[in-house]
Amino acid sequence: MEATASLNERTEPTQSLVARQFDDLEQQRGAAELGMWIFLATEVLFFGGLFLAYTVFRSLYPRDFAAASHHTIVLIGGMNTAILLFSSTLMALAVRAAELRNQTTLIRLLLATAFFGIVFMVLKGIEYYKDWTDHLVPVLNFDWHSPNPGPAQIFFWLYFAMTGLHAIHITVGIFVMLTLALMARTGKFTTGNYTPIEIAGLYWHFVDIVWIFLFPLLYLAGHR
């Protein structure tokens, strides 16, 4: 940090992009990046509460969890994993496009990322509908043919809580991508300050990572 410049001494052309509390673009970008990573750490622990509950109940009721997991739709879960991994790749390329100041590619890639997010949500919706018709929704229509349905209901509660919270994150992500694509049309991110694209990318990758864990834990626990 060799930041001795006072407010009025800024002369570089990028200065208009720098908020008043920062000395230069570099410092601003570093702050945003660090802030995003810390936000992601809080997200890890936010989801972590559910992962803890999952771990505890799976260790208490391994058989019920395996049996319940058997009723999830692995095909959709697996396809959705592939979709998210692919969209994450596109997002990484989008960040690169912004870095290279390639406006057209950036907009296309952002839209593609959002598109795959939407596909994910559609598949998820189909799956939820199937869960509903199979009477797997706790409280609302849960019907489990066992004298002791409690643990299976807990499994499906955690399944809906975890995938639901994840779906909320995907939805937010889709809106972020669409907004950024809209903003990118003004050339906002291709003049040197692509930090918003970068941290949106971090967010999208994080949501992807959460799903990477949800897939084996929720879908594959009972399919042997």
Partner: protein, 552 residues
């Protein structure tokens, strides 16, 4: 800290100060839409005082009810709601934001020579979230209150409680995000916005303690949010993850709750320690003893603090072996706190001690914190905890830490930075009187409760066996003195904000960067970014200064 500041600030006139001070705009809009960290700190100050007032009234009503063994003033339901109000508001709407969001917001950027925090808009958002969360909490009070206690233990809170748990949980949930944002802001600010030359081991210890606190805020609060979310959904849908009749486990709730709430008590003491680490060197005119040890102790407390939550569960039917792990770690977490106390004591040696109001609070802090900390050892010792768990011993212990520690630290810090915040001095003689009153009132309120707790008086009882009465009477008497001790500063602070003597940029002749700018500071804190060239707390040049406080 040796800081060269290019501009001669002292030669400006009063009028010039007023014109460029952060306080110079007066419109409501200029306050509600401000992104200035100093103004946000003041917004927080007013907000938490409202919650402090409500929670204090609840405490006063409880103490009056407890004067007589059979109560009679209120129904048990009312009493249960009062201690829930007291607990939730004090913890989440007063203590947690007290030093970090008020004093931290105000001085942290100035202490590191920055123009603002890293994310000023998020900073304002955090205040709005806090108010919004507070509104939810207040709404649950208006609708009839909550009777679960601040701990929300399941299955009582999820299945049996007949009160407005969800809106209270929602309030705390929302306020939790305001805490997370504050923590995130402080961490990034400390990492990225330090003035040139201000290396980590030149940082004021208050910054170290805020950094450690922020770590806890960021890493613990999300788990609380998830836990409260699960409680609310459980109340609505009754799926049963905390209900043993449906295969759930109420002990899991306790693990999740204390994973947050134990580290959270360090949110409620670390910043107080940070303030004291500023006050002791300043009023001893001497560098702090063992600077790196005090700074690292903050980090050690923050990290170890995450590993001890199970000591709230020694009699909960938790595994005996897990209990032992948590017990030994609880003893270890006491060590860095002890190291801090020893270093503060050693700082006094060969100092030139000024007994100003902030210094009285700092010394009071050490006294009360030592007692609070030592009684913590009683609770970490497994077999003794079995007896004193959930009794008044616990009540006494954590009030010594939270009120004796954090609130005393907050008052000390508020007096210390008041001239910086308002540009005016408070009346010193009244300040000293209030500090002494608080100290005496506090001890009378809470010391008898240790004895009462060991005798076996359980907490959350509005009626009790008659042989406990004497201790309750003493405690209530103390509480009324304590109340006076808190009202006095309120009055003279308000008075001094208008009529106090002008303070000048550095009335304490202190070394921190925040004292290198005018009081009240200009909008962007510094005319020119300061450059730091030396160690903190270098009072060598000002060792023999006489702060001449008798005249203030």
């Amino acid at each position: 800290m040796n800081a060269r500041v290019a501009t001669e600030i002292d030669i400006r006139t009063e009028g010039e100060f007023a014109r460029e001070s952060y306080l110079s705009e007066h419109t409501v809009r200029s306050w509600l839409l401000t992104t200035d960290h100093k103004r946000i700190g003041i917004l927080y100050l007013f907000t938490i005082l409202i919650f402090f007032a409500i929670a204090s009234v609840a405490a006063a009503m409880m103490r009056i009810e407890l004067l007589h063994p059979t109560g009679g003033l209120m129904t048990s339901e009312t009493y249960n709601k009062l201690f829930t109000i007291h607990g939730t508001l004090m913890v989440w709407f007063f203590l947690i934001p007290s030093i970090p969001a008020v004093l931290g917001n105000f001085v942290l950027p100035m202490m590191i020579g920055a123009r603002d925090v890293a994310f000023p808009k998020l900073n304002l958002t955090s205040w709005y979230l806090f108010v919004f969360g507070g509104a939810f909490a207040t709404w649950s009070l208006i609708r009839g209150g909550v009777d679960t206690g601040w701990t929300f233990y399941t299955p009582y809170s999820t299945t049996y409680a007949n009160s407005h748990v969800i809106s209270m949980a929602a309030g705390v949930f929302i306020a939790g995000f305001s805490t997370i944002i504050t923590g995130m802001n402080f961490i990034v600010t400390t990492h990225k916005m330090r003035a040139p030359g201000l290396t980590w081991f030149r940082l004021p210890l208050f910054v170290w303690s805020l950094y450690a606190t922020s770590l806890i805020m960021v890493l613990a609060t999300p788990v609380l949010a998830m836990t409260l979310g699960l409680i609310s959904l459980e109340r609505i849908w009754g799926v049963g993850i905390f209900d043993p009749n449906l295969g759930g486990d109420p002990i899991l709730f306790q693990h999740m709750f204390w994973f947050y709430s134990h580290p959270a008590v360090y949110i409620m003491i670390l910043p107080g320690m940070g303030v004291v680490s500023e006050l002791i060197p300043c009023f001893s005119r001497k560098p702090i003893f063992g600077y790196p040890w005090v700074g690292c102790a903050s980090m050690a407390i923050a990290i170890l603090g995450f590993l001890v939550w199970g000591h709230h569960m020694f009699v909960s039917s938790q595994s005996v072996y897990a209990g032992m792990i948590f017990s030994v770690l609880s003893f270890l977490v006491a060590v860095p706190s002890g190291v801090k106390v020893f270093n503060w004591t050693a700082t006094l040696h060969k100092g030139s001690i000024h007994f100003t109001t902030p210094m009285l609070y700092a010394l009071g802090f050490i006294g009360l914190f030592v007692i609070g900390g030592l009684t913590g050892l009683f609770l970490a010792a497994l077999s003794v905890d079995v007896h004193v768990h959930d009794t008044y011993f616990i009540i006494a212990h954590f009030h010594y830490i939270m009120v004796g520690g954090m609130v005393t630290g907050f008052m000390g810090g508020l007096h210390y930075w008041w001239p910086k915040i308002t540009g005016r001095l408070y009346p010193e003689i009244w300040g000293k009187l209030a500090a002494l009153t608080t100290f005496l009132g506090f001890n009378l309120t809470f010391f008898p409760l240790f004895i009462l707790g060991y005798l076996g008086q359980p907490r959350r009882y509005h009626v009790y066996p008659p042989e406990f009465q004497i201790f309750h009477v003493l405690s209530t008497a103390g509480a009324s003195i304590l109340g006076v001790g808190y009202v006095m500063p309120l009055i003279y602070f308000i008075w001094s904000a208008k009529h106090g003597r002008a303070a000048g940029p550095n009335p304490w002749r202190a070394t921190g960067l925040e004292w290198q700018t005018s009081s009240p500071p200009p909008k962007h804190n510094f005319k020119e970014t300061p450059v730091v060239t030396g160690k903190p707390y270098d009072y060598s040049a000002e060792k023999d200064v006489d702060l001449d406080l008798a005249n203030l």
